[in-house]
Symmetry: C2
Subunit: 633 residues, 2 copies
């Protein structure tokens, strides 16, 4: 009997060729990361693989494949990994082309972090405890708590896990012991002697795509190390909707997704500790933020209600649970805490953004925008706050865009078009030869094309203004040639199609509908915004002018736009360091109004108007209207 | 190769004959309960077994054995199971004589239980929850807690274990759900529809010797079933000091003792549930009482400090821990709670006694006495309370008494001596033929002998007054023949030796020293006591007059002595049913003064005086002094 294995080349990975499984499922088994943006729906066409051996052992091409792959391509052995299934277990050799592999993403590890007064929930106190004698007959718990009470005026309880070591810990070093408390209310650790020189916590931002963890010295507030990794749930679905549907379709899907993210965090904690000569048991608290779906999946909370109207989260309130509840490797009687959520698509990460942006304490009305597959927008000031979420889709992450890709090596991230000559200048990530175009690049390109009159305000390509860059496609429609074959990594043209432009129009319209709706609720115009906080990687890398030009950001002078980077990570660190900040977060999430855009009567109309470049109603874009006017001409 | 098993006859049990193990250890392996009061010290001589086959495979008799067993007896194959070890693994057949087996003890399952207002910590509420809609976008947690808040005015948190089932539970029966809360502060269960007809808890009294569990319907407060078993830790040591020393000697000893008592409770809970058609998951809270050592061993808290001066408990405060922390089979997000301890030898059981006695609310000064190997005494009233513990030893349980036994079938429990004729009348447990004498019997016997002038006030037998009942022993000293061979089960005389009498004098002196010391602290005389609450099995079965006569109980008119039975069990039930009562218990244990008798300067002198019958200072026994006077004559 010959081996019945699927080989993934040139990666050298292999796994058993299990009958009925898709090649994408087997890739996951083999630990091979293949791009899959549509969640195995056969729609994005990103998961191409080339079958070198064993093509006849696979199922016939599906409708999705015949639609997305030409017959020539199919003949050459190309298949969509999410569609092709093992028909007959046998030896199968696959080539995973470069463009189907998930590359190293540029990770935005740090954000702007306002200073906070150090007031961590976990605190160590060195105590001198009166010895037990026949004249002082108190029990060990009272003996300890009485001393602590003198300091804090709070009568703490003792975590039951501490009882086992308590009597020895207070006696071993002549009745001198270090007591770790959680929020002054509970003793979670008692150690002999003085151990106050080691108080560590970890803040984690669980993004849909990446997970970043920061090791914080809670004596100084300093971030002493950080580590990141792609979210290990990606093989189960690129976006959060695919992951939620995985939890619905697979009986133990929710548990599986929880287990991989917990394992991932354990790896990050281990790495952080190794870098500072610590043990995971030295980590006393972990503070987690993430969007509502990531939050629920991490804490083992069913997430499927988040995915269906009215998109109710199961848990809004801040959590603080035992590491054992999750299986997290850290001090076992420490805590795993989270910031609160607001709604199904305004999660703890948005609350964290809000906390680190400082918007909640501004006198004047401002706005925080965190663009992603779902874009969270919070508007208001120290008196009131309202929020919404926009289904902006994955276009900015490269999905549904012909040459779209994430902001990894070779992605076009900046574009300049000379209106006179039609000359195009490009900047790519790592200055590599262009491989595709990422979100900030396509926003730039559309803005530049619009400014150059190559696009009209409806988003249509204007061939007459296109010099030699705009060409008709045989399949109908037209496209803009961003980079010519000779300049590119693949030696083929990188283009922006009419369809790509429409995808971006849909995405930016979704975002601006959120912006406009919140401003209407506040009875203000966009120009009244004193500040726009742009959070997240995309918000940091996108050119603000371009984003206003295409009608995605509100039309404010660009100096009012403040880039705050990975604000979710910053907020998590701040809340790890300060109970005052986390109490504030809880309060903000509780009092913040949430507007469900789908429930707004004006939604359709707002959305339709926002499809224009920059907008149907140019009075909303007084500063950038001239550009639009030219585009219209 | 012949089998290498040890057979225990006539019980039909067997186990592997492991080299180096004592027969007592192997008996435990085989699940055979052999009496062992001294904790394998080779002192009590209760663990006799007869070797029928394989005597040469055992170690030679130890010094303990040659001291306790005559050479004739040894020659007949009798060994002490705690001394004889397997030298050569081979087939060994042992007979376990009736008197070495632990019989069925008379268990005192219920005590006097004052009514309490039903206010359990676990409470179910049937809630009608506003459905989630696009007009009401709250998260499930807020949606639930907001409704609950309207009832209780307390903003409860939700146990993380509940999150998994929360969204389905509130939706399944059209937004009608039953919510279980713990102390109104935490939601521990959410069930679809109306389940308010089932709210159950279990109260447990973990005694050193027996464990009693009560199933309580928390809607009505009714005790619907009870079950008991010998404490499964007994094979590891009959008394608590032997068990504590087991935890010190054996590396995993503490864990092992915890695991057997947890298993025991699981068995009791299972049996209680079976009797009422319930599942262990229906038990929402378990309330545990026990002495400090039993409490610590159950909760996995090191108990060895309790055994050495200054006898500090690790934990005084009431506990409330997760069932998973202990491995208890019940509703996993319910609670295992305990009443508080006071000191190393005044535990949660004594606090429970106090709560059910009602002493804490009396206007006049009274006293609660719970006699056991350690006797707990609490004195005071609604204004102040003081407590102490007396090392009264196991004499009342039959240890160190030649014909001593527990109050099981055939134990002499009542004795009348006619002073004129010397005729002796006996009552035995189950009216069986006498097999030995239990605590209440020996107190009666000594009181009667003293009244009859057969004992003087120093506790010496007075042969001249003894009719034909007192006889000299060949080994020196003398003894009183309580039952003649013809009347007894073993067809040998049951006697009370001079040594036995001294053991009882030591025990009763220890108790009265506690009584006297507390009265001195209160600056009162015993006759000032308005009430003496006698708790526990021994307290219930002992004759109050006899107990006063020998100088064990304070000399008050017998009508002031109130028998409250298993008051510890009653208190546990009351506290399971009422948070007010458990808060009261916590408060009482915190404010109660504890007097360590060993630290009292007058201890020696008090003890020496209390050795007399009834006391050296007859002014302490004004009512019963005439008896003493006659005994002296």
């Amino acid at each position: 009997m010959t081996e019945q294995l699927v080989h993934f080349q040139p990666l050298g990975r292999k796994t058993e060729a299990r009958k009925g499984k898709t090649l994408l499922e087997l890739a996951r088994d083999a630990g091979v990361s293949i791009e899959s943006i549509c969640g195995s729906a056969g729609k994005c066409g990103k998961c191409k693989v080339i079958v070198r051996t064993g093509a006849s052992a696979l199922s016939s091409p599906t409708d999705s494949e015949t639609k997305l792959l030409s017959s020539d391509v199919l003949r050459n052995g190309v298949r969509l990994a999410c569609q092709a299934r093992i028909r007959v277990p046998s030896r199968i050799v696959l080539e995973v082309p470069e463009e189907s592999r998930r590359g190293h993403h540029r990770l935005l590890a740090s954000g702007v972090e306002p200073e906070v007064k150090l007031q961590p929930a976990v605190r160590k106190s060195l105590l001198s405890i009166p010895p037990a004698t026949l004249k002082d007959l108190r029990a060990d718990d009272d003996r300890l708590i009485d001393v602590l009470f003198k300091r804090t005026r709070i009568r703490a309880s003792i975590h039951p896990g501490v009882h086992g070591s308590l009597p020895d810990a207070i006696r071993r070093k002549e009745w001198t012991a270090t007591v770790t408390t959680f929020r002054d209310a509970e003793v979670i650790q008692v150690e002999p002697g003085d151990t106050t020189d080691e108080v560590f916590g970890v803040a984690v931002d669980i993004g849909t795509t990446k997970v970043v963890a920061y090791l914080i010295d809670l004596r100084t507030g300093e971030t002493v190390a950080n580590e990141s990794m792609p979210n290990p749930q990606i093989p189960f679905g690129e976006d959060l909707m695919s992951r939620i549907s995985y939890t619905i379709k697979e009986p133990e899907g929710g548990k599986r997704l929880q287990s991989v993210i917990v394992d991932g965090l354990n790896t990050l904690i281990q790495k952080l500790c190794e870098r500072k000569g610590l043990q995971p048991e030295d980590i006393l608290e972990v503070m987690v933020v993430g969007n509502t779906a990531m939050h629920h999946l991490f804490f083992g909370i069913p997430a499927h209600h988040v995915a269906a109207a009215p998109y109710a989260p199961v848990v809004r309130a801040s959590l603080s649970v035992s590491p054992g509840h999750l299986g997290l490797d850290m001090y076992p009687f420490g805590r795993v805490s989270s910031l609160p959520n607001v709604a199904g698509f305004v999660g703890a990460d948005a609350v964290s953004d809000l906390v680190s942006s400082g918007l909640y304490k501004d006198e004047k009305i401002g706005m925080m925008i965190d663009i992603g597959t779902n874009t969270e927008i919070i508007a208001g000031n120290r008196e009131k706050l309202i929020s919404c979420s926009c289904a902006s889709g994955p276009a900015f992450e490269g999905a549904h865009i012909k040459y779209g890709m994430r902001a990894s090596t070779g992605a076009v991230e900046r574009v300049w078009v000379d209106p006179a000559s039609g000359e195009v200048l490009l900047r790519t990530v790592d200055d590599a030869q262009p491989r595709g175009i990422c979100g900030s690049g396509i926003v730039d390109a559309i803005s530049e094309m619009f400014k150059a009159g190559m696009l009209d305000s409806a988003g249509r390509l204007v061939p007459a203004a296109g010099k030699d860059r705009i060409r008709k496609l045989k399949t109908g429609g037209s496209e803009f040639v961003l980079a010519r074959a000779a300049e590119t990594a693949m030696k083929e043209d990188i283009t922006i199609t009419q369809h790509d432009i429409q995808e971006i129009q849909l995405a930016k319209a979704a975002i601006f509908t959120g912006v406009a709706t919140l401003m209407k609720k506040l009875k203000l115009r966009c120009s009244d915004l004193s500040r726009v906080y742009a959070a997240g990687a995309f918000g940091t890398y996108v050119d603000a002018s371009s984003a206003i030009n295409i009608g995605m950001y509100p039309d404010v002078p660009v100096e009012r736009i403040k880039f705050i980077g990975n604000a979710a990570g910053s907020g998590a660190r701040m809340c790890l360091k300060s109970t005052k900040m986390r109490d504030l977060a809880e309060e903000l999430s509780h009092k913040m109004k949430y507007v469900e855009l789908a429930g707004e009567p004006s939604f359709q109309n707002e959305f339709a108007q926002a499809m224009f470049l920059p907008h149907r109603d140019l009075s909303r874009f007084p500063n950038h209207g001239h550009v639009s006017a030219r585009g219209k001409a």
